[in-house]
Symmetry: C2
């Protein structure tokens, strides 16, 4: 039996943070964005991280299935990536003129990603999805954008909703929404807005929060691709979350089609701060025409880290490795749930698995189970996909399944 964790230092520090930081801890752990992560059950602050683990400030170790919400793909503090970054840092990072390591990284992405004839670097996923939308509007001289319901493409107003604080109706009035996998609905929207649709933007499959993740139906993307071609619409794939965990050639390649523009961020450099917009040749001029830059966009260290990361992912054949680990883990979790009479549903690609306990309309049973896992050292989250990293060992997977079982046993003891 695993001991039950105490988070009292985390809670103290959260109160301290709340005094000087709006919402204390923001992002996924904060009240606005969090997938119902209760402060009482989760650690709020980390002390250190290594490989597949992080330690919170109360000294508890977690087998981490969130991977910093994606960036950690090789394991925290990967020695190869860190060495390449340190070597570049000695020379310089953020300099008046960029390093040619930027070109090396662009060439590597062009060699690696099937739909990439070029690469353009920024800092956040939101930077590159926003640039993609502007490039599509510039390329087509059109305004409207089609989204698939359940999407997340960043934090800028264009991709948020009118009921979000500080978002104006003017900023979202050119947005159109269709159901995922519903090609007929998409065709109807194209008919209604003939010659008006600049872009369709989608994640490679529906890995939205608070829903079972859904793969594309047979030929869905192929039909969308053809429709976009026929109508002169730019097809943008937001591979910020799934990128390099399905296919090093891009998640569009995994599903057998080619995006016009594809957005990467999280797994690009194992946590070093860089994002990339890649695309086909015919979109290059539109990107060149934009007035976009940022203080640190041309910094050299993240490029050096990105090169080391992608090269190591290739050596490891990482997507297969991560998917295999994900299958082993989720098969074990499902079996363990069954032993205690629970039905654990697993969806999405296994390297990014999404979990839900069946027969739980209020979601509270699932949340209680995740909290019991947390308390014993397995960092799952409630209603967001998870992430596998390459440092996760068979022993880590075995221990995770064991802890999951203890968590199910605890639920039974609570009479749930």
């Amino acid at each position: 039996m695993h001991p039950i964790y105490d988070h009292s230092k985390s809670r103290e520090q959260y109160l301290r943070a709340s005094k000087v930081i709006p919402s204390g801890v923001y992002g996924h752990l904060g009240p606005a964005e969090g997938c119902f992560i209760p402060v009482s059950a989760y650690p709020q602050f980390s002390e250190k991280a290594k490989g597949p683990y992080f330690w919170d400030i109360d000294g508890n170790r977690y087998i981490d299935y969130m991977c910093a919400y994606g960036p950690n793909i090789l394991g925290y503090n990967d020695p190869d990536v860190d060495e390449a970054a340190a070597k570049q840092r000695e020379k310089g990072d953020c300099i008046t003129a960029p390093s040619t390591v930027m070109i090396d990284f662009a060439e590597l992405l062009v060699d690696t990603v099937a739909s990439a004839d070029w690469a353009f670097f920024a800092k956040n996923g939101n930077d590159v999805t926003s640039i993609a939308i502007r490039a599509a509007r510039t390329h087509t001289h059109r305004k409207k954008i089609v989204f698939f319901k359940g999407y997340y493409h960043g934090i800028s107003p264009w991709c948020q909703k009118i009921d979000y604080a500080g978002v104006l109706e003017e900023e979202v009035c050119n947005n159109l929404y269709v159901d995922w996998n519903d090609f007929e609905q998409l065709e109807l929207v194209f008919e209604e807005h003939k010659h008006e649709i600049a872009a369709v933007i989608g994640q490679p499959y529906m890995h939205g929060n608070f829903m079972d993740n859904q793969l594309p139906e047979q030929d869905f993307w192929q039909k969308v691709r053809k429709l976009c071609d026929d109508e002169g619409t730019v097809l943008i794939i937001d591979d910020v979350r799934a990128g390099f965990r399905l296919d090093l050639k891009g998640s569009d390649h995994y599903f057998g089609f080619k995006a016009d523009l594809i957005c990467f961020c999280k797994a690009l450099a194992n946590g070093y701060n860089v994002s990339a917009l890649c695309g086909q040749e015919h979109m290059k001029n539109a990107v060149s025409a934009l007035s976009v830059t940022g203080s640190y966009w041309l910094s050299a260290v993240p490029f050096a880290a990105g090169i080391a990361c992608i090269e190591k992912l290739k050596r490891l054949d990482a997507p297969k490795l991560l998917i295999d680990k994900g299958i082993a883990l989720t098969d074990g979790l499902k079996a363990e749930a069954g032993k205690y009479g629970y039905d654990l549903r697993v969806s999405g690609v296994p390297s990014l698995f999404y979990l839900r306990l069946a027969d739980d309309p209020s979601l509270r049973l699932h949340q209680a189970w995740v909290a019991e896992c947390q308390k014993r050292g397995v960092y799952f989250t409630n209603h967001h996909n998870h992430f596998i990293n390459a440092a996760l060992s068979d022993e880590d997977i075995r221990e995770t399944i064991e802890i999951a079982g203890e968590a199910f046993a605890a639920l039974r003891q609570q009479g749930r």
Copy 2:
């Protein structure tokens, strides 16, 4: 006499970059954003940097007055900042839960910046100016924003112009523009748009490109502050460029007023990738209400670097140091210009000095002089303010003035 630099490797690499990166090198060195920086006269790629210098890939050394367009405030690869960053990196950087070093940094900014009761961190200047605008709209339930003509607040559509590629009229239709230092015009705009103006956003003084930089007139900010108070409008200061080079307490404090929200980025962590929105207590809830985050926003290394940077800036009394160096330099440059019969106009705060040769309506004489400086190892730029860093020595300043003289002599030889 200083030797004339050759940039042939830079030019070769620029061609290589152009194949795989839209516009080759973007940002300030690119064709879209550059202040008329000709590829032939400027190095396009750096090899390394140290203190006040960087070296290009042709082996030329530059005394650098652009400081990576601001981030380099202590000197490149400052040992104190790098050591703090390296220590944090060993523990971890981008982790599922943040480090408490984020709270330490927020508390330090609250202690340092006069108008800061809290701090909220992101990655680019554009992130925090955008968050400020959304917070102002949330706080006031109003839409309209007043800008001062000549402004630059980032790359998002809301702060660009309708003739910029990919910007929609819907995205800028709530923008109002007034002339810098014209308080009566601002009052008129407030009367015309009674109860509609969410925010006034301004740089602490007008440090726009292609214009002599202009300080605020006597009482200008005090009158703006009072008008905003009377009308319930949020006053946002964009201190991304000038921050910590005028006053460690904030550039609003330097000019004797208090912003509601103040945006920092460039000089915050000596090149480590972080930006910060700070503000007064009454704006904290509005920021908490926003749905904003990013993959690397809570990374620990830049916070550790930021703490070391701000603490060192305090030990050095950096703004005074930088302003004194700027005065010594620009006094010397003006005198040197005079020796050759040229009239060099210097504007802005000396730590961010802007240069212009008088009687040069086409701007070509100025551009020719800057190119001659570049060719001899002084990195100025044409129509953008410059930046002083603390590592710049008296000997560097002396050498700069000497090279500037040689550049003026070269112009005379060319009969200009």
